[in-house]
Amino acid sequence: MVQFLFTIILFTLFVSRPTNVFWPALFIGLFLELFSATPFGLLTFSLLLSLAGAYLLFSYFFTNRSWPALLVLGLCGTLLFRIIFYFLNLIMMVKGATNFSQTFNEYFIETIKDAIYNVILLFLIFSIANRLSRRLKTIFLIR
């Protein structure tokens, strides 16, 4: 569920303003905390930090808004989220404050699966949105 919602948020980041992304992301994260086994705030913090990273990537490195750019954004955003989440859990494990129990190999495999899943989902969302709205033509981003 986290990855599905994260994909939706990434797509929103791609097509909308940051204000329309970060505030909903904060509240979605806090909502997901209610059903998470990790310490409170960890999931939301990882979500916001990875979105910030994706936003910086999109704003300062991407030159156009197209479906390959969206897929790369999705891939980078997912990897960022998984890395940040893993390291925060590692820090919490030192204090004994988390229920994180996956080995590194398991987490790595899950990361690959999530990255593939998110990329496919983003492509589907883009295709549907493009067909319905006709507003997602490839454009070059003006800096």
Binding site: L32, L34, F35, A37, L43, F85, N99, T103, E106
Partner: protein, 263 residues
């Protein structure tokens, strides 16, 4: 709103909410939202369970699978009866030898599994009972009157999180129902299987032996069925042998569970 201002405002709100949660000010709204979401999450979980059952019984295989499930249920009941009988015999023997022994009944709470934890970092499930029902961290959880499911690791007012026995961090002291009452430690493996470790080399363990909780841990009674020995790893140069166990039921299809409260 500039990006810097946006990040600052979001960070401030996040820190405020985090502090409020840490100080306990948010427990009422959190419980309120959980109460609203729990019925929806429960419905989705039940649909998921039914879908799993549906796909596993498609076509002509459905009758065979249904019959197989009935046989499995009867077999599990037989294992329960067998365990109960063995334990009753032991208990009877002990009670006869000791005068004035008093056995107290542990209180139990019935609960339903609502959802798996969303973060996916552990094999754990959320149930719809919490501290207001007397549940505490460390309480054992079982299903169908005697099969161990896991242990409570986190408690809120009206929900709790169970760590399944197949989780990497799950550990229980266990005993095999055999002549020597072999003791060992049962650990979960990658969310898929269970392994019994620290079995002395000289103990005679057979494939098919039933493994139960040993009762050595506080508040976990003896006799909850963990699984059946499926294979044994015994190397002469190792100080201990180990056994792979198979759970007698699909832990991912459990819906109703019982939580044993502390005495």
């Amino acid at each position: 709103m500039t990006a810097r201002r946006l990040f600052l405002s979001i960070s401030s709100v996040f820190i405020l909410i985090f502090l409020a949660h840490s100080l306990g000010f948010l427990s009422a709204p959190e419980n309120f939202f959980r109460r609203i979401i729990l019925p929806i999450a429960k419905t989705i979980y039940l649909i998921e369970l039914k879908t799993k059952n549906f796909y596993s019984g498609l076509g002509n295989q459905q009758n065979i699978i249904s019959e197989n499930e009935q046989c499995q249920i009867k077999l599990r009941e037989t294992y329960l009866d067998q365990t109960e009988l063995t334990l009753s015999r032991e208990e009877n023997k002990t009670l006869r030898a000791q005068a004035g022994f008093i056995k107290s009944e542990q209180k139990k709470v019935l609960a339903e599994i609502i959802i798996k934890t969303v973060d996916g970092t552990s094999n754990s499930m959320i149930i719809n009972r919490g501290s207001e029902n007397g549940i505490e961290t460390g309480n054992p959880v079982f299903f169908e009157n005697g099969f161990l499911l896991g242990r409570i690791i986190n408690v809120e007012k009206n929900t709790a999180i169970i760590r399944l026995i197949t989780d990497n961090r799950s550990k229980f002291t266990a005993s095999i129902i055999n002549q020597n009452k072999t003791q060992g430690l049962v650990e979960g493996e990658h969310g898929l299987s269970i392994k019994m470790k620290m079995i002395p080399q000289d103990e005679n363990v057979q494939v098919g032996d039933i493994v139960i909780t040993s009762g050595a841990e506080k508040n976990i009674p003896r006799g909850l069925i963990i699984g059946k020995v499926e294979s044994i790893q015994k190397e002469l140069y190792e100080p201990f042998q180990s056994a792979n166990l198979r759970s007698l039921a699909d832990l991912n299809k459990v819906n109703i569970v019982t939580v044993l409260l502390k005495q």
